[in-house]
Symmetry: C2
Subunit: 119 residues, 2 copies
Amino acid sequence: MPTTQQDQLSATFAALADPTRRAILARLATGEATVNEIAEPFEVSLQAVSKHLKVLERAGLISRGRSAQWRPCRLTAEPLEDVSDWVSRYRAFWDSGFDRLDRRLREIQKGQNGEHDDH
Amino acid sequence: MPTTQQDQLSATFAALADPTRRAILARLATGEATVNEIAEPFEVSLQAVSKHLKVLERAGLISRGRSAQWRPCRLTAEPLEDVSDWVSRYRAFWDSGFDRLDRRLREIQKGQNGEHDDH
């Protein structure tokens, strides 16, 4: 059964599963910005951007200022740190190239079996 | 507009946005396994596990053997490396504790403004 922390991680991954939302985070990494400033480079409506911001806010990836008129968005790093912690458990797999090596060995074995079958 | 690589990253994040799928990856990190072996510790149907495996396979997070009877699943590290590369761009934010510091400063400022308003 998923714990609350796991659900938080699921919400973070779901929020990151969209290129526009990732581009918004990249923009906010350069500094806080209003909805209008964030929307400017995108070919989507202000409404669509607002929707993306809501998803990011629910996932805790951004926070927004209190002032009603000027509600700048800013990046919140904690969920990204959780993603980094999670993925780092698998580092050994790509650092060692183990899966590539394993696949290559299997291809060689398959090739040898194929030769054997032909005889 | 999203590039193909970005869509791949979206597919990876979407596949990771589920605690059962992440648990399956953790299981496969210990070695390849059949669908039955993977399903064993989970309180979900074999059908549900098969569905999760299809999502993981489409995202390139696992690969499956060719043999019809014995199709072991194994972890494929490349998409996880892409996730690691992506998230590492934000490392400065949590390493420096910048966002926490920034938030704390704002809270202090807000408190001072509040005091000022009271006078």
